[in-house]
């Protein structure tokens, strides 16, 4: 019954057998998938001994194939940013289906405040507003976008917190509303030709930089702040959180606002990267953002998960997508293989977890 660092006595407690953190599994799965692609590259007859990650053609100065490493992260950075928010929503016991359509709507709105006046010397053929909206400082579209995200998130959160309807329904409704907004904004016309300073936000590897910065920020927030602790507590047992005096309603509104602002920020980066905004942008992003989080170990029943896991989950998607192009898999097989890999990744993780505490 001696006072130790980790407990107040009782049973024998063997600290060395604590079991490694969940994230290690996902990392292992990631490595496994990479190895499989490397192996396929070696054995498939039509691959001419190419390597997946290494530079066999001597095109770069490093031993790695830099272009591949970059695209692996680049192509998931934007959904990854959304996934950071979705992770928080899911940990709090909710779900957000509206993030995909929100990207579409936010992109349309943002881009119409980021247009430039002259394109190749001609007047901008896609102008949404009058002259006043041309060549605005880059901060304007960014603020507009974040405010729009905050607004949608506040509605989501308030509906869920105050009327207590299931998050699935609130955000499904918002899904439809955001699609409506996206199409209504310009009656379906794409919005293009942004200013150079706006285009710089998402050009090159900038999406990856944003993703990394935001991931670190929210890792710290979830792990070390009151906001993080309350998010886990609410997801773990909402009644308990309420009875313990946490302001559950206000907290939920905050969580959904942060998630929607992250999605709106993703829309800013996405439209900047593509130099255009279209109503259909962001389709299925909500599903992939959720899938990344879940592959990363976030539990859909709430209370469990981490940003590190989600980032690794995003990497799994990046590797898979690059890998498929690398081995030149047909589109239909890609879909099937993607489905199979998502399932296997989670099965693997589940299986490892169960070994620890093997209730049946």
């Amino acid at each position: 019954m001696s006072k130790t660092d980790h407990g107040v006595g009782g049973l024998t407690y063997d600290k060395s057998k604590k079991g490694w953190p969940n994230e290690v599994n996902i990392f292992a799965a990631l490595i496994l998938i990479i190895l499989i692609f490397e192996a396929l590259g070696q054995f498939l007859p039509y691959m001419n001994d190419q390597s997946f990650l290494f530079d066999t053609n001597g095109r770069f100065d490093t031993i790695f194939n830099e272009a591949r490493l970059k695209i692996i992260i680049l192509q998931v950075a934007i959904i990854g940013i959304i996934s950071l928010g979705v992770t928080q929503v899911i940990i709090s016991g909710g779900i957000d289906l509206s993030s995909g359509p929100l990207v579409g709507a936010a992109a349309m709105i943002v881009m119409s405040f980021a247009q430039t006046e002259l394109v190749n010397g001609n007047p901008n053929p896609k102008a949404v507003f009058g002259d006043w909206a041309f060549d605005l400082p880059v901060i304007v579209p960014v603020i507009v976008g974040l405010c729009f995200g905050a607004f949608i998130g506040a509605i989501n959160g308030s509906l869920i917190a105050f009327t207590r309807i299931p998050p699935f329904i609130a955000t499904l409704g918002m899904f439809l509303i955001c699609r409506g907004i996206a199409q209504w904004w310009t009656k379906g016309q794409p919005v293009s030709f942004p200013t150079e300073s706006f285009a710089a936000l998402g050009s090159g590897m900038m999406p990856v930089v944003w993703f990394a910065l935001l991931a670190v920020l929210f890792h710290l927030v979830l792990r070390y702040t009151l906001y993080g602790k309350h998010t886990y507590a609410i997801g773990s047992n909402e009644d308990a959180a309420r009875m313990s005096g946490i302001n559950v309603k206000r907290h939920k509104v905050l969580v959904y606002m942060i998630a929607s602002m992250l999605a709106a920020f993703a829309a800013i980066i996405l439209s900047s990267k593509n130099l255009t905004a279209q109503t259909g942008m962001g389709q299925f992003y909500e599903l992939f953002a959720i899938a990344m989080a879940v592959i990363g170990g976030v539990s859909l029943t709430g209370g469990r998960g981490s940003i590190i896991g989600t980032v690794l989950g995003a990497m799994v998607f990046g590797v898979i997508q690059s890998g498929f192009t690398y081995i030149k898999l047909d589109a239909f097989y890609q879909l099937m293989a993607m489905g199979a890999i998502i399932i296997s990744a989670v099965v693997l993780d589940q299986w490892r977890q169960q070994r620890g505490s093997s209730r049946n």
Binding site: H6, V221, L226, M243, S244, G245
Partner: protein, 262 residues
């Protein structure tokens, strides 16, 4: 019993119906400052329902609650806690995926850098230390407090919930069957905690089925039967035995003031 200013909690005609079930009917209850009162009664007699109305966990059907001299209308448990009521609920209210310190400090975490608002930093180290101390008081043994609550035994969970209430000072403490799942030693420790509260003059409502415990610790027993209060027994001063209380519980006896509580 009606000296004004001396009463910490009073309910008048407090009533709760769940659809057609009349779980609590016209409860008139008073608690003086520093007094320790037991609530006893059959299973399903409405004891926990009574507690849920006082703590704002549910909205009452009708009646008034006067706490610390002011009529109150708690819209949620947050209000009640802010007013100074601490409760150990029968359902414990613990977050399954969090560890012991997190649960103990749930809703009033120790933080640093408070200018960061909701994003202020948690002071894990200090919470961990305080947790070990608080747990010592309940006498429970927990091999690893970093383990999540879902992996704790029934008694360990209960001790965490009790430690939480005992750690923070309050104007009124309510415990709903706190020792139900506890072992012999742990029960003794929790009874010590209750004695300490008595010495400090903090009022307490204890729900318990344990006659010995009630007679050892409490000043007064209020008996619930079929959703109504049927007896108010001053066990410190009057000559009342356990058999008497059982008679009230089973309905063999009813105090004259409460005759309509057939």
């Amino acid at each position: 019993m009606t000296e004004l200013g001396n009463i910490i909690l009073e309910t008048r005609d407090l009533t709760k119906h769940y659809g057609g079930v009349h779980a609590l009917e016209g409860a008139d209850f008073t608690l003086r400052k520093g007094e320790h009162v037991a609530i006893m009664g059959d299973n399903g007699a409405g004891k926990s329902t009574f507690v849920r109305q006082i703590t704002g966990v549910e909205q009452k059907t009708r009646g008034d609650i006067i706490f610390d001299g002011k009529p109150v209308n708690f819209t949620g448990p947050l209000d009640a806690r802010e007013a100074g009521i601490e409760a150990v609920f029968q359902t414990l209210a613990l977050a399954d995926h969090l560890d012991v310190p997190d649960n103990l400090f749930l809703g009033r975490e120790k933080t640093k850098w408070n200018w960061l608002g909701p994003f202020r930093r948690l002071d894990y180290k200090s919470m961990r230390e305080d947790t070990l101390e608080a747990l010592q008081k309940t006498g429970v043994k927990i091999p690893n407090i970093r383990n999540t609550i879902q992996n704790m035994s029934g008694g360990q969970r209960q001790c965490v919930a009790i430690a939480r209430t005992a750690t923070f000072h309050s104007k009124l403490t309510i415990m709903d069957e706190p020792t139900a799942a506890l072992g012999v030693q742990e029960t003794a420790q929790v009874e010590n905690i209750i004695r300490t509260l008595k010495e400090q003059g903090e009022p307490l409502i204890l729900i318990s089925h344990n006659m010995r415990q009630v007679f050892d610790l409490m000043d007064r027993v209020v008996v619930f039967r079929r959703g109504r209060i049927c007896a108010n027994l001053d066990i410190r001063n009057e000559d009342i035995t356990g058999e008497d209380v059982v008679a009230y519980i089973t309905g063999a006896k009813t105090q004259p003031e409460y005759e309509d509580a057939a």
